[in-house]
């Protein structure tokens, strides 16, 4: 069995810095093999960690004391209005300014899902500008957002992206009604709706509709990091939701209350995502490899540490996680481990941690993690793993510095590679794929396609549904098997360029195999085309890597959850508060009838 490739240099240096050169072997012993952690089911169980992008962005924001200041916020009692925020960032690369505008629309009584097929008809939409645009440019952009017509909306490269969102009406109304009555909303009600008032569905950036391309950010810009622009737009939707409920309540009642900071912090921002995420993960496999190696390395480091360190911290985190899972409800528990089960399991784990020997022989966290994995479901185990990573923040933060480096990797074919060498790489790294029998019934049942409904990604049945010839790439197993078969038709010493000359499209497969060969955790070990593959597996994984909590499949193809719940408020971020905010405890409800 070939061993996994070595860590990238940058991560090896992190290991050396924290553990010395002998640490490489210690940490390698705790790295999980891809066969164990790269299957769709295993990936589905993974939880947001300190190395998830939302957490990394939050850390950067707090470290650099980003200032988010409302310049203008006006909306009427129905929520129709405009907002402008100024953002100032004193980053290590110098000062940067951003401007955020949001157009909030009058509530029309229709709860919107936020699918791509529904176009741009949403309850609000925000846009982030690089720099400080003049009033004319802001008015121009407001006019674009005003149209809510996806077919005609278009912007320019001074906008990083648009973040649309819809109300989660029941919970939004509860908060507005409470504030208008001069009271605080009930946190338990907010928690029963997974903790958000506005829910985003999609980010329209990275060139879409004329927005700035990722490569177009100025060097060293704070948003020139994978997913930072997307997630910052999302965080600002959360801020709009907080400001919006207060403004609507104020418009309805002169005696309206404002949210207490505890409850405002408890409000996150929702997100719903669909099957297109599976396609994105297959299109950018080096992203997956990067996220996974950072996560797995951080976990392996934590596992290699003695339980004598950080046991009290682990108890605090377990208490928070138990409270969180016990208080936040999700709408559908059919495809996940129910929260009450996770709570019960984490309580047992808490007892184990509390009973850890304080003295005597050292035990490493990995031993306990193995016990958790053997005793409970995968989601409990992964939540415990996420808490373990949290216990060693310095290492995780250092490892997370690799996220932009790994994502910047460029796929380029090596045309001079001899056929025999490529065959060896294929057998070493894709043995799992070559062993899959695609002749089995329903092993290639599905394909992904874009629908005429605004290009929404959908999953069809091969041979039945139309436009299979335009399927999106998801079939890396079939790709590997086709390549392996093709290689048998050429001399061992022929350069792969000769294969490409005969079949130009095979350049993709060849370059993919070549550029992933040096990366650990490079491919998802599963067949996405198979009948038994659930898209929600990978949607949940992607969202957890972004930083979503409570990723909840409402169907096998659609996942909802919450971001930034517990995240510090703008004034706290500007003051450089601590970044220990994830999995917030539910605030205590104010006494009914007592105005805040």
């Amino acid at each position: 069995m070939p061993s996994e490739p070595e860590l990238p240099d940058c991560l090896r240096a992190v290991v050396d810095r924290f553990m010395g050169p002998e640490g490489r072997e210690r940490i390698a012993a705790w790295m999980r093999p891809p066969d164990l952690c790269m299957t769709p089911a295993a990936l589905s169980a993974m939880k947001s960690t300190r190395t998830s992008f939302a957490r990394v962005l939050a850390r950067h924001m707090i470290r650099d004391r980003w200032r988010i200041v409302g310049r203008h916020f006006a909306c009427d009692a129905e929520g129709d209005g405009h907002a402008i925020y100024d953002i100032t960032i004193m980053s290590p690369t110098g000062p940067h300014r951003l401007t955020y505008i949001a157009r909030m629309f009058r509530w029309d009584g229709v709860e919107k899902v936020g699918r791509r097929s529904d176009g741009a008809y949403r309850d609000m939409c925000g846009a982030v500008f690089l720099g400080t645009p003049d009033d004319r440019r802001i008015a121009e952009e407001f006019a674009v957002l005003e149209s809510r017509d996806a077919d005609t909306m278009r912007t320019r490269g001074d906008v990083t992206g648009w973040t649309p969102a819809n109300r989660s009406a029941r919970f939004f109304d509860h908060v507005v009604d409470s504030l208008a009555a001069g009271q605080q909303p009930d946190p338990a009600v907010i928690g029963s709706g997974a903790g958000y008032l506005l829910r985003n569905g999609g980010y329209l950036g990275s060139g879409r509709y004329g927005t700035l391309s990722v490569e177009g950010y100025p060097a060293g810009h704070p948003l020139s990091h994978p997913f930072f622009a997307d997630l910052f737009g999302l965080l600002l939707v959360r801020q709009v939701s907080i400001d919006m409920v207060e403004a609507i309540a104020a418009a309805r009642s002169p005696n309206a209350a404002r949210l207490t900071p505890e409850i405002a912090r408890y409000i996150g921002v929702g997100n719903s995502s669909g099957q297109g995420m599976c396609v994105a993960l297959q299109r950018w496999p080096h992203w997956v490899a990067t996220w996974m190696v950072v996560r797995e390395l951080s976990l392996a480091y934590a596992k290699s540490q003695s339980t004598k360190s950080q046991a009290p911290r682990m108890l605090v985190l377990l208490d928070r996680a138990i409270d969180y899972y016990g208080s936040v409800q999700v709408p559908n528990e059919e495809l996940i481990v129910p929260h009450h089960v996770i709570v019960a399991s984490l309580r047992q784990v808490r007892e184990w941690v509390a009973d850890l020997p304080r003295g005597g022989r050292a035990m490493v966290w990995g031993t306990l993690a193995d016990r958790v994995a053997a005793s409970f479901d995968a989601e409990t185990a992964e939540q415990f793993n996420a808490l373990l990573i949290e216990c060693y923040p310095d290492f995780a933060d250092a490892a997370a510095d690799y996220l932009p480096i790994g994502a910047a990797r460029v796929r380029e074919v090596q045309p001079e590679m001899p056929v025999a060498a490529l065959r060896q790489v294929l057998h070493d790294r894709y043995g799992w794929a070559l062993r899959m029998d695609l002749g089995h019934s329903r092993s290639r049942q599905h394909f992904w396609y874009h629908s005429a409904d605004n290009g929404e990604q959908r999953r069809g049945d091969r041979g039945v549904d139309p436009h299979e010839e335009f399927e999106s790439f998801i079939d890396h197993v079939g790709m590997a098997q086709r390549l392996a078969a093709l290689l048998t038709a050429y001399d061992d010493d022929a350069p792969v360029a000769e294969i490409i000359a005969d079949q130009p499209d095979i350049a993709y497969a060849i370059s993919r195999v070549q550029y992933l060969a040096a990366l650990p955790y490079a491919e998802i070990r599963g067949n996405l085309a198979a009948a038994d593959f659930l898209p929600s597996y990978l949607i949940r994984f992607f969202l957890a890597c972004l930083g979503m909590e409570c990723g909840n499949p409402l169907s096998i193809r659609y996942v909802r959850g919450v971001f930034f719940q517990g995240m510090r408020l703008p004034q706290e971020i500007a003051a450089g508060t601590h970044d220990d905010w994830a999995l917030p405890e539910q605030p205590v409800a104010a006494h009914p009838g007592i105005a805040a």
């Binding site: 391309s213 719903s272 959908r458 096998i556």
Partner: protein, 266 residues
């Protein structure tokens, strides 16, 4: 025409699907889309070429792949039969690259009868990304897609600051600073001059160390960077066409299709 800014990432994303609509499989289209974006950003009219050349590109995509052979000097040659450089340009560069890297000298590949010679610069950039010095020679043939680019040569040179480009017409001599082995490209120029209606595309590459930036370098890297920052100005008709091509790859909606979307119960 009121030009409209188009993001580079937008061209790559939508271009991949647009090129698939013209008949390219995924692996070909995703490689070609970066050439399309580069061309639009640096030379302009990349999207126009896609619009005006739609039929010719699609017809070429349906034809068999060129059969490559080595000539008496060991250089790679093929008849493109009016296939576009979107499709047969990268393999030509791959063959030349392989020969240069394996042989320790130059690699050469030539195509007759290819269309899409506007993409020569993008192929030079691809060579530069590989750390190669390259000379591309292009002479549009009678079947070339409008707007027809001028015949001439393009040099891509690795420098410590990234690739530098020089370009000239056939009457202009190849740059003096060009590494000596690449001077054999004058043979391509001679052949291109006499290619007539068939047209000619030749690539000569050499693995070499970075060299000092040339004084007369053209501003293509700056144009590219600007396009990434602010977008590339394009004819709205071209952008509409890009999206129209993409939409051809979208399956018609139906009740069954809507049931295959994300939201809903199983």
């Amino acid at each position: 025409m009121n030009a409209i800014p188009v993001a580079m990432a937008e061209i790559v994303r939508e271009g991949t699907w647009a090129l698939r609509a013209l008949g390219y499989p995924y692996g070909t289209a995703e490689r070609a889309a970066t050439m399309l974006a580069w061309t639009e950003a640096v030379h302009g009219n990349g999207l126009t070429m896609l619009r005006l050349g739609e039929a010719a590109i699609a017809a070429g995509a349906a034809r068999p792949q060129p059969r490559w052979r080595r000539d008496a000097r060991g250089w790679r040659r093929a008849e493109a039969a009016q296939k576009c450089l979107f499709e047969c340009g990268p393999p030509a560069l791959d063959l030349a690259t392989a020969d240069a890297r394996l042989g320790g000298g130059i690699g050469r590949a030539a195509l007759r009868g290819a269309i899409g010679t506007r993409l020569s610069g993008a192929l030079a950039a691809m060579a530069a990304r590989r750390g190669l010095a390259a000379v591309m020679v292009q002479a549009p043939g009678a079947a070339e897609i409008a707007p027809v680019p001028p015949a001439g040569w393009i040099c891509a040179l690795p420098t410590p600051d990234g690739p530098a480009f020089l370009a000239g017409a056939f009457d202009a001599p190849l740059p003096a600073m060009l590494p000596a082995p690449l001077r054999v490209a004058v043979g391509d120029i001679a052949e291109a001059r006499t290619a007539g209606e068939a047209g000619f595309f030749g690539v000569t590459v050499l693995a070499c160390s970075p060299m000092a930036p040339p004084q007369a370098a053209v501003d293509w890297p700056q144009r590219l960077a600007l396009a990434y920052r602010t977008g590339s100005l394009a004819d709205p008709a071209d952008l509409d066409h890009l999206y129209a091509l993409e939409m051809r790859t979208w399956a018609p909606t139906s009740e069954r299709s809507r049931a295959q979307a994300g939201f809903g119960r199983f």
